[in-house]
Symmetry: C2
Subunit: 247 residues, 2 copies
DNA sequence: TTCTTCATCTCGAAA
DNA sequence: TTTCGAGGTGAAGAA
């Protein structure tokens, strides 16, 4: 069995020769299909870094938006890839299928050389739907704005994404005594990096608001690591535990 | 055409009914194959966050290591996924194929409900090869150790990954005047986060080495953003431009 | 474009 | 197991 074809645009080939496979891949790309090729191959990448991968059996996916993914039998991440907006090309060299993907800015090139093709397919996919996701940092921000007391009794949010010379502050407001408060939100347990981020915002605002006002910095997250807690104390910053919603 | 089978363990089905598809998926998982199912489906996820995705055509991959990926026709990243070490399960409910993937710690559950299956396949992949990658931060470190003058004339590396209360320093050494030097390496253009990281190492070492020694902090990277450069200046830290090798 | 930060980040190493 | 930082991080939003 070497060829299968169905009514609705799906094309598949089982153990095709290189030329047949090349035709399917080239036609699939041309038609805007999602193309997959499974087989024994070597992979080389040159661009932001450089990599090479000896012969093994892998699953190669070429998307109509120009993305390319090479997956082994392990791992959530592809072993090699190209981002969207690359140009894909299928050729035959020395009787073998070669799939290449290229882009400029930055210059990057991925080459997959097949020793054998087990299966190739072109799937004409359409997907209109957008993912609806809950439990993000943006959701946590909405929750804080709805219920500012989660941060502290008397806390009054005045702005979100307020810009400072150090970047945009998640939530900017005042405490019950009228002191300026900077809130940095994290949807999960925080390490030293988040403390540094909050510290930069506090420093920037103290400079911007000129001296005598001292600015409070509050990190809001489910929890904090020991090292981060120590850093918070050193810099006179505060922590408030709030779980994200996830509903 | 509804079924294809080849000698070497590959199994494919074109437009199978739900029960046929379930059998292929279940058998493929059992055999340790990489399983793909392409068709119109809805996807829900609940775990670290929660998401739902209306009906559309997608490519679902189940890996033998327990990873699951749902890809649309766009983007390098899957629209939904599960990490390795999840348990996959295929069932038929209301005459439809349902693929589920679950893990505990943390509790996470992914459900893919198919309205129709265009194609299903089980690929018995083997891959012994490891990726060889050049142009990483580790390569940059070797380069600096080979040629310390890239950092500064007279710089002498004394240790790599030297541990401090703030974490491990990339390269630890002395300058021509015997002053302690902390080098933080980055393979690409750096922003404010890297300055914070370097600053924490410098602070930790000044504390550890007690007072009178002042510690120099040098950020080594291809380039810096303006804001990061300003932060470096504020904290008395330095920058040296070095390109990663990529050979 | 560049910059900045979030991410169901993933992944690996070390404590 | 948790913590920490690298990553060819990718992706989104703003300047």
């Amino acid at each position: 069995m070497t060829t299968t074809e169905s009514g609705s645009g799906l094309e598949t080939l089982t153990r095709p020769d290189a030329e047949r496979a090349r035709e399917l891949v080239a036609a699939g790309i041309e038609r805007g299909a999602l193309v997959t090729v499974v087989g024994r191959c070597t992979v080389t990448y040159d661009g932001r870094a450089a990599s090479s991968l000896g012969a093994g059996e892998r699953h190669v996916m070429l998307k109509p938006d120009g993305a390319a993914l090479v997956h082994t039998d392990e791992g959530q991440q592809p072993v090699n890839w190209q981002p969207p907006d690359c140009d894909h090309e299928a050729t035959v060299a020395d009787g073998r299928l070669v799939v290449e993907s290229h882009r400029e800015t930055p210059e990057e090139h991925l080459t997959v050389r097949f020793e054998s093709v087990v299966h190739a397919a072109a799937y004409p996919l359409t997907d209109e739907e957008d993912l609806s996701l809950a439990g993000t940092e943006a959701d946590l921000r909405e929750r804080i704005l709805d219920e500012p007391a989660l941060v502290e009794a008397g806390f009054e949010p005045l702005a979100t994404e307020r810009s400072t010379p150090a970047g945009a502050v998640d939530v900017f407001g005042e405490d019950a005594d009228g002191r300026t408060v900077v809130v940095e939100l994290k949807r999960r347990r925080v390490g030293p990096d988040a403390v540094g981020q909050l510290g930069r915002y506090v420093d920037a605002l103290e400079r911007e608001l000129h001296a005598e006002t001292d600015v409070r910095g509050i990190l809001v997250a489910p929890s904090v690591t020991d090292r981060a807690r120590r850093l918070l104390a050193e810099r006179g910053l505060e922590f408030v535990a709030v779980e994200p919603t996830r509903e």
